[in-house]
Every structure is written in structure tokens, then in C-alpha cells.
Amino acid sequence: MFSLLRTMWLTFLHAFHKRDTVLYPEEKNYLPPRWRGRIVLTRDPDGGERCVACNLCAAACPVDCIALQATEDPTGRRYPEFFQINFSRCIFCGFCEEACPTYAIQLIPDFEMGEYNRQNLVYEKDDLLINGEGKYHGYNYYKVAGMAIGGKDKGEAENETPPVDIKSLLP
């Protein structure tokens, strides 16, 4: 009996508490930067596409909603020819971001992706690629990797010595 009354009293008190509900969409809530929302593909500090089409995100994806195809530009730089994410399947687990060796794929604090037509939830590279570095600044995978690409020859990556002269016997 007492507990019943107590419950009613507490419920009544809530009527005078500060409101937790906000008047979305007029009022927007704060989402922390690590919130796992809409997925973007970012660019490296030089403005190049960060994604090297390694397929690791696709392999990590538990619902298999990422499909892409690798291709190369004439200088040997690899990038995705197409990159599709089916957001009607995506569970926003962030595994793709975890798997990405280049910081290309990132989940950002945006969840406003509602659509009337489910087909519109299939995002192409054009819809995903942003003009910035996203959450992780400064990293440029090709500056670390050993592949020569346009603007970075062999031996010009971080911690690399110039190509060896194989005709020389000097140590």
C-alpha cells in the first residue's frame, strides 16, 4: 500500500522536473564527436581521396552493406572506382572505421538520414565523399606506404632511404 502511494508521489514530482525531451527538430541535442552516425569518406591533408580501396571495411562489416571496386589512376594510386553503402542495412557498429587502415571511412554525429523511399538509403561515393579530413587530422597513408604514386616517388615516403643502386657493391 505504502509503496503504491510512494510511486504515485514520485511520478507526480516528475511533473515539476526539468524536461529531458527537447523539441526536435527546432532544438537539437548535443552529440559527442564519437557518436556513430552517418558514414563519410574523407580526404587526406593534400586533398586526395583517402580511401585506397583495400576492402577491409567491407570485410569487417557484419551486415555486408559495403561494396566497392578498386582501381588505379595512371600513376599507380589506388582508389575506389565505386563505393556503395546500403544504409538500410547498416547497423552503425563502427567496425568499418575500426578496420580502415587509412582513416578514410568515418562515422560522424549525424543521424538525420530518414527517407520515405528505402532505395534512397543506398549511398554512392558521391554521397559519401566529403571535402575534409573528418575526425582524424594529418594522416596521409600514401606518405607512409612504399608504393610510388604521382608526386611521391620510391624512397620519398616517411622513413625511407632513396632507392638502392643495385649495380653498386658498396655497403
Binding site: C54, A67, R118, Q119, V122, G146
Partner: protein, 917 residues
């Protein structure tokens, strides 16, 4: 067969295991299913102990707790030996070794084509070296251009030496080596350029890292885990090497080796590995076409109706094909009736293949498999340029010449055969006997004891003499030069003194008499009690199978239409312009009322079709091929297709249904065809059971074609339709098109890919073998249909041909073959076309001089009605009065070779008596 030695006991981490003696510890451990990392050891190439990755601890006895580190690949198995893989010191050592090997390894995995099927990745994980410790500067290299097949990324090298050991030592290549010194070792060519070896593609599988990778895959790169793969069989020559074909997004992406201990082992030739691009060609027939409805394609039902109308109202004949599966040929044969089925091969090939088969069925000699050729210790090749006609046989012969010195010297020196470096050091350049009789010098000549370049007739004569000498009978061949006699004596003596002599011949010599001679030699050796083997090549992937099915010759088909005996023809996957002269085929088509063609690529024959059905290639079909030794092997559809494109046999069954064919009633699936085929052709018994039936399940599940990591399933079709379609089903086999299914090992004949936990690279093959390097668990796939019968009688042929006589104003044209260029389908690969020669004619240099022709000048001649104008190449080993004409090259009109070519009247050429042999 090898004697079964008693097993010995070794202790691994305290556990006793029974193992076969004679192996090394690494092999023993791997065969027992242990995970022990390695790099430089390769099951086909033995051990050199170069990488130090396979270290284990070995203990003196059970009281020894300290032990010593040894390289397991260099230590033979001994009874009672105690070793530890898990010993902390051994583990630490291995993890440090890989760290050192990788100090200079670039940060490339994400953009490396090896990634996901990389032995180096697997081994780093296995040793626990997941994080790099080395943080200092890395050495770099410039890469080389190595031709259209392989990509080079030298930074990734870990100096295991496998590439040079394979390329130089195993495959006999000359243009890949190791350069420079100390930590600057460089594995590549002396300068940029195309790799010369026909077996270069294997480097992509031999190299445990991403230094050498498949360049054709790079054009449409896909990780191994994303491929949908199926067991397949190479369609580009008669040997029938086993392959794995991989698809992604509806196109074929790559071909890799499927291990078959009896056939190709761990390797493939470049034609087989890279010749797959025709499947993705723009000139594919993708939809049925009906001439009256052109230029639009039609639907399946309209095409079937139109064709059925033609069949119902016409007198129909069918022309089969040696590049179509047994099932397709059989379906056509049933549809048109046995008496109306024609084989669809050129005149010379028809006779030669038929004769080949006869010899295989009757020979007393053992019919060799590709693998057995490697173990033969004396080889005599008659009339074949193996490198160009049956490439993997070249590779097998290259191993056989090492047999004799190895068997002689190594046991004396007292170390095991797998000690590769020691064995090679010991036998140096010593080579076992190899004799080659061919029309022109071949690539194998460099390892041959003696060679003999002459016309087919002279080659046959030599063979007959050898056979007579072996049999100890009187030589019936007349008019033999002393030189030839001496050579014949040498060959005969050598074959007689060998333990396992082999005779290799086939259809490419262009003469029945050559095969006869080979058969005689085989039988003569057998009569002398020799364990002799014979191998005969055939023209195409299913030549022997087609011949076993039977059928009339193509010429009769031309007559049947020409005489008005028939008016409608169904042509199965066959470009008749490659089988008979253009004039003949044109006349044939002009006479036909209706032409129904089934093919996968547009060609000159499909242009004449009234109804053209889109036939699936091997990647889109299920089927069986019978290779040159009579081995039936099944290939599986790799990916589902739309209903507009399907297997030829399915089209034919549906046609049969339309015309309510009584013999085809109830046929629907692959498994319906096989029992019917065996009933109609008892000589094919065995073909119905080479693979498990379509209902086969393990734990109620199908075998998945895709790996469990297959990605993108819910996104790859989403652009077209976000609601995923139901996955395609495969009613014809025990394989499923998706990743769903049984995760364990599939039966050996339907292994779609090699994978084992921790083993993502091709090296996972170890886990599928009974013992490392040995046959697959459950036996190597495929079955020999030609079995030695009790009725085998040693047919003795005695029609040795007469000497070759040059003819005034004529050239005797002999067919020449090219690994890259001769075969119809593989030239659709850009790189293969790049490597194939321009049409030419090869003359004796003296003949050329007499005709006032320099290299490159044009020579005009006529074969039958066909006029040829070709640039001249000259060679001093070509028989005088004869010439070589490459056949099958794109753009070169057909000629039934060997044949006499009439020289253009303008060119006068004095006749001279010439000694030929």
C-alpha cells in the same frame, strides 16, 4: 609405386606421432596438421634452409631439457626424435626472425594485391609478430616492367629465394635472377622487359609476398575473400590442368592453380593462367539472336521456338566441338541422332585423334600422367614442340631430366632428395637423357642430349628405326643414313638402359606415322620388360572425349548438306572457319537452309547463324572434359547467369523439349545427362561418378563457393534494387553460389578454394593433402576412362614412310604452334595477344637464299585454293623443301597441314637433289 617403409615415431611437444621416414621435420609437422611457419621451403622444390623461419627445438633424449634450435626443413625424420614447436625459445626465435625479415617491408598491405592471400601476413600472425618493432629507415627499390602478366613491387621482398629457385632451377628460365649484394639483394631481370618463360605466372603463387602479383587481376582487382570461386579445368590445351576460377560482380577475375597430384601439381602455364579474359570479352554473345529479328536480340523463348521450327521442318545434322564439354556434345548427338552427328574437327585432326585414341586403348605401355612424366628417367619426344603444344608437359620434362643423375648420385652421397641446394650442387649440370625429334628447334633443346630436326616423315622413320633396334629385329626402313642410324642406336640403347623410359608424341607432328613409331617404341620397350610410359598430346581440351563419343568427319557434313541429304545444321561451340578452308565452309553455309549456332564468342561462323544461342563459357557452365590421357575431369559453373545465357547442353535439352524429342524426355539437370551418356557410350563408364551428385550434402549443407568473409552482399545489387533478391540456386551441383554452407573441407573433386584457419594464402593446400606434397585427401580428382584392358594387344605398325622428297615449285608446309597465339580463346587476353607472333612462314635459309628472299620479304604461295602472302623467317635447321606455317594465329586463314603449298609462278626455284636426314 614406392615401397612402403615402416613408419617411425617422433615426439612433438611430448606427444608421440607415427610419421613416414625420409621426410624432413617441417613436412612431417605440416602433414600432421601442425602450424609451423616457413618461407623458403616449397613442397615442389624442397628445402634450402635460407629463411630460418621454421626453427624448432630438438632434444637429445627425454632427459634433455635444454635442446638445440634447428631448422626443421633441413632435419630428416629419425625414429624417436624429440622436438618442440611450442618451446618458448623456439617461438621467440621465429618471431624475431620474421621481425628481421620484415625490417624493410613497406607499409603496403592495404594497397598490396597479395593482401588477404599473403603467406607473409599469415606467418606474421602465426608467429605473433603482429606489431612492428623496427622504427628506423627502410631500404627501397625501383620496380621493373616484366611484361603483361606480372606486376613487380620489389620493396616487399623478404629474400626467401623462392622466385629464382622456381624460375631458374625448376622452370628453366634464364631471365630472372638475384642481383646486387648484402642487404641490397634484388630479384628481377637484368633490365626491364617481358619475362620469357611460359611459366612465369607461377611466380605469383610461389612468391610468399606481394613482389610478384597477377597483373591481369590488377585490372579488376578483388581480394581472395571476395571472389566467388569454383573448381574448374583449363580449356586451353589437351592436358586439362586443374584450376580455380574466381568471379566478382559478374566478371571472371582470375585463374589460380587447383592442386591435382596426378596432373598439374602446384603449377599452371601462362596460357592457362591468363587466357581467361575471353570470358569478359566485349565480343561475347550475351543474348540469343534470331536473324529475322536483327539487329535486336530476342528472348530465350522466341529463339527456342524459331530454332524448334527449323528443326521440325528440316533434315537436321549436328556438328560438335572439341572445345565443348562432353555433356554438350552428347546432348547435340542425342538431339540430332547418332547418324547425323559430325565431330567438327579438321581433317588431319580427325584422323590423328582417332589414331591417338586407338593407340592409347591398345598400347602395352603405361599411359603416363603429367606427374608421372616428371619421374621418368629417359624421354624421347617425337614430333612435338611441347612448350608450344602442351606447355605443362615441357615443365614436366624439365624435371625428368634431373631424375637420372639424382637417382644415381644422390643416394651415393647419402643425403635426402629434398635437400635441394645440396642435390643441385652435387649434380650440377648433369642431365638425364632426353631426345627430341621435331620439325624445328624447340625450347627444350637446351636440355636435350640429342636433337633431330627434320620433316614429319623423317621423324617417323627415325622412330621406326629406334623401335626396330629395341625389339632387336631387322630394320625394315630403307635407305637410312649412317648418322641417323647412329642416333637411333644411341636412343634405343639409352631407353633400354633406363628404369622408367618415356615416349612422348601426339597429334601436333601432323602424321599418323609418328604416333605409330611412338607406339612401336612403347610396345618394344614393354616387350623387353621395361616399365615404359607413353604420353600422347591431343589438339584441344576435349579432343579425346569427343572422339570417344564418336561422330562422322566434318567433310561428310559438308557432303550431307551439299548433296541435299540434309538442309539444317546445328553447330556447337565451333568456328568452322578454323576447321576447313574458307571456300569450303562458305559453300557449305550457302547450301544450308538454316544454321543454328551455339557459341560464347562472336566469330565468322556465328555471323552465318539464323539462330544464335548464347552459350556459357566454362565459367558459366558445368561440364566434363576428357584430357589427352583419357582422364575425365569436371568443371563447375562459377557464377549464376541470366536465363539468356546458359550451358550449351541446357539449350539443347530445351530444344529437345520443344521438339518433344523422345530420347531427351525428362532431361533437365546436369545429373540427368551422365547416366544417359554412359548407357549410350559404355566406353565412358566412370565419367558419371567423378564428382559427387547434385544432392550431395555434408551435414545437410552444400559446399559454398564463397568464403565466409565474402563482403558486400547487401550492397552490391542495392543500387539497382535495395531489396535483395533471393540468392541464385544451383540445381546442377553440390555447390552453392553464396557463402552459406558447410565450412569444413569439401571432397577433393569439388574444392572451390583453399583456406584453413590461419592459412589464407595458396599455401593452405598443405591442409588439404594426405601428406604435404602428396595427393589430396580423398584422392586426386578425375578418373581415367581409358583403362588397360586384357585385350590390349601390342599392335605393331610397320608402314614406315618413305624419305621426304622436296618438290619443285612447291613447299611442304608443316604446322607450327605457339603457346601464345595458336589457341582460339586465349588470344582474347590482351597480354597473350601482345605475346603472340604476327603470321609468318618459316623457310630453310638456303631455300630462302635460292628464292632470293631475305628475312622479312613476302612469300606468296597457295594451299588448295587459299592464297597466302606472308613475311619470311629463315632457320638453318628447317629441312630443305619444307617450311613451317604457324596455324591458328588470329587473321591467318585455315589450312589442313601438313600439305603441299604451290609457290607463286613468279618465283622460280631450281630443284636440287638434297640429302634430308
Amino acid at each position: 609405386m614406392e615401397e612402403v617403409a615402416p613408419k617411425v615415431t617422433i615426439f612433438i611437444d611430448g606427444q608421440p606421432f607415427e610419421v613416414k621416414p625420409g621426410k624432413n621435420l617441417l613436412e612431417a609437422c605440416l602433414s600432421l596438421g601442425e602450424d609451423l611457419p616457413y618461407f623458403c621451403w616449397h613442397p615442389a622444390m624442397g628445402s634450402v634452409g635460407a629463411c630460418r623461419q621454421c626453427a624448432v627445438k630438438v632434444f637429445k633424449d627425454e632427459n634433455d631439457t635444454v635442446g638445440r634450435l634447428i631448422m626443421s626443413c633441413m632435419e630428416p625424420v629419425r625414429d624417436g626424435l624429440r622436438l618442440s614447436i611450442q618451446n618458448p625459445q623456439a617461438k621467440d626465435f621465429r618471431s624475431n626472425i620474421i621481425g628481421w625479415l620484415m625490417t624493410n617491408h613497406p607499409h603496403d598491405c592495404a594497397v598490396c594485391d597479395e593482401g588477404g592471400s599473403c603467406h607473409l601476413q599469415d606467418m606474421t600472425v602465426m608467429t605473433g609478430h603482429n606489431y612492428r618493432k623496427y622504427t628506423f629507415e627502410k631500404r627501397t627499390y625501383r620496380n621493373q616492367y616484366l611484361g603483361p602478366f606480372l606486376n613487380h613491387e620489389m620493396n616487399r621482398c623478404i629474400q626467401c629465394y623462392r622466385c629464382v629457385r622456381y624460375y631458374k632451377d625448376y622452370a628453366g628460365g634464364k631471365d630472372l635472377d638475384v642481383f646486387a649484394a648484402h642487404n641490397h639483394l634484388y630479384f628481377g631481370r637484368h633490365e626491364d622487359g617481358m619475362l620469357e618463360s611460359e611459366f612465369s605466372g607461377n611466380l605469383a603463387e610461389v612468391c610468399p609476398t606481394g613482389v610478384f602479383t597477377d597483373k591481369t587481376l590488377k585490372e579488376h582487382y578483388t581480394r581472395k575473400w571476395d571472389l566467388t570461386t569454383a573448381p574448374s579445368v583449363c580449356q586451353h590445351c589437351s592436358l586439362g590442368c586443374n584450376t580455380i576460377a574466381g568471379e566478382r560482380y559478374g566478371t571472371l577475375r582470375n585463374i589460380t592453380t587447383r592442386f591435382n597430384g596426378e596432373v598439374n601439381g602446384y603449377f599452371l602455364c601462362d596460357r592457362g593462367r591468363f587466357g581467361y579474359e575471353f570470358v569478359n570479352s566485349a565480343s561475347r554473345v550475351r543474348k540469343p539472336l534470331v536473324r529475322s529479328k536483327l539487329p535486336e536480340s530476342t528472348s530465350k523463348s522466341i529463339a527456342l521456338e524459331e530454332a524448334a521450327k527449323m528443326i521440325r521442318n528440316g533434315r537436321v545434322i549436328g556438328i560438335g566441338s572439341p572445345r565443348a564439354s562432353m555433356e554438350s556434345n552428347f546432348a547435340l548427338k542425342t538431339l540430332v541422332g547418332d547418324e547425323h552427328f559430325y565431330q567438327g574437327v579438321s581433317e588431319p585432326d580427325h584422323d590423328l585423334v582417332e589414331f591417338n585414341l586407338e593407340v592409347l586403348q591398345q598400347t602395352e605401355a603405361h599411359i603416363l600422367s603429367l606427374k608421372e612424366v616428371e619421374r621418368c628417367d629417359a624421354v624421347f619426344i617425337l614430333g612435338e614442340d611441347l612448350t608450344n603444344t602442351a606447355p605443362m608437359l615441357d615443365l614436366a620434362v624439365r624435371q625428368s631430366v634431373r631424375q637420372q643423375p639424382m637417382l644415381e648420385d644422390v643416394p651415393k652421397a647419402g643425403f635426402p632428395m629434398w635437400q635441394d641446394a645440396a642435390v643441385r650442387e652435387l649434380i650440377q649440370d648433369k642431365k638425364g637423357p632426353l631426345f627430341i625429334a621435331s620439325f624445328q628447334p624447340t625450347k627444350l633443346d637446351e636440355i636435350a642430349t640429342e636433337t633431330f630436326n627434320a620433316t614429319p616423315a623423317e621423324i617417323a622413320r627415325l622412330g621406326f628405326i629406334v623401335a626396330s633396334i629395341i625389339a632387336g629385329e631387322e630394320i625394315t626402313v630403307h635407305d637410312v643414313s649412317e648418322q641417323t642410324q647412329r642416333l637411333a642406336k644411341q636412343i634405343a640403347d639409352t631407353l633400354l638402359s633406363a628404369q622408367k623410359p618415356a615416349v612422348i608424341s601426339g597429334t601436333h607432328g601432323g602424321r599418323e606415322s609418328i604416333i605409330k613409331a611412338a607406339a612401336n617404341i612403347g610396345n618394344a620397350l614393354k616387350a623387353k620388360g621395361k616399365d615404359v610410359g607413353i604420353m600422347l598430346t591431343a589438339p584441344e581440351c576435349n579432343s579425346i572425349g569427343l572422339d570417344m563419343l564418336g561422330g562422322h568427319r566434318l567433310e561428310s557434313a559438308f557432303d550431307a548438306i551439299g548433296n541435299g541429304y540434309a538442309d539444317t545444321v546445328i553447330i556447337l561451340e565451333n568456328d568452322l572457319y578454323r576447321r576447313a578452308s574458307a571456300a569450303q565452309v562458305n559453300k557449305f553455309f550457302d547450301k544450308c537452309k538454316h544454321v543454328i549456332v551455339l557459341d560464347s564468342l562472336h566469330n565468322k561462323t556465328t555471323e552465318r547463324a539464323d539462330v544464335l544461342f548464347a552459350a556459357g563459357t566454362y565459367a558459366e557452365s558445368d561440364g566434363t572434359l576428357v584430357n589427352n590421357e583419357g582422364r575425365a575431369q569436371r568443371f563447375y559453373q562459377v557464377y549464376p547467369t541470366t536465363e539468356d545465357m546458359q550451358e550449351s547442353w541446357r539449350w539443347l535439352i530445351q530444344l529437345g523439349d520443344q521438339v518433344q524429342h523422345q530420347h531427351m524426355r525428362g532431361w533437365e539437370h546436369f545429373d540427368d545427362l551422365l547416366p544417359a551418356m554412359v548407357v549410350a557410350h559404355p566406353n565412358l563408364i566412370g565419367i558419371e561418378s567423378i564428382t559427387p551428385p547434385a544432392e550431395f550434402r555434408i551435414a545437410g549443407q552444400k559446399i559454398p563457393r564463397a568464403t565466409h568473409r565474402f563482403s558486400g552482399r547487401t550492397a552490391m545489387n542495392a543500387v539497382n534494387n535495395v531489396s535483395e533478391p533471393k540468392p541464385a540456386e544451383d540445381p546442377d551441383s553440390a555447390l552453392s553460389f553464396t557463402m552459406e554452407g558447410y565450412r569444413g573441407q569439401a571432397p577433393s573433386s569439388i574444392i572451390p578454394f583453399y583456406w584453413s584457419p590461419g592459412w589464407n594464402s595458396v599455401q593452405a593446400i598443405n591442409k588439404y593433402q594426405l601428406e604435404v606434397g602428396g595427393p589430396l585427401r580423398g584422392g586426386d580428382p578425375g578418373a581415367r576412362l581409358i583403362k588397360p584392358t586384357l585385350q590390349s594387344r601390342s599392335t605393331h605398325f610397320n608402314e614406315a614412310p618413305e624419305h621426304f622428297q622436296p618438290l619443285d615449285r612447291h613447299l611442304f608446309l608443316v604446322p607450327l604452334y605457339h603457346t601464345f597465339g595458336t589457341e582460339e580463346l586465349s588470344v582474347h587476353t590482351k597480354g597473350i595477344l601482345e605475346k603472340s607472333p604476327e603470321p609468318y612462314v618459316m623457310l630453310n635459309s638456303h631455300d630462302a637464299q635460292e628464292m632470293n628472299l631475305a628475312e622479312g620479304d613476302t612469300l606468296a604461295f597457295k594451299i588448295e585454293e587459299q592464297v597466302y602472302q606472308l613475311p619470311v623467317k629463315t632457320g638453318s635447321f628447317i629441312a630443305r623443301g619444307a617450311a613451317g606455317l604457324p596455324i591458328g594465329l588470329p587473321g591467318l586463314p585455315f589450312a589442313a597441314l601438313p600439305a603441299w603449298g604451290i609457290l607463286n609462278r613468279e618465283i622460280s626455284w631450281k630443284k636440287q637433289p638434297q640429302p634430308i636426314s
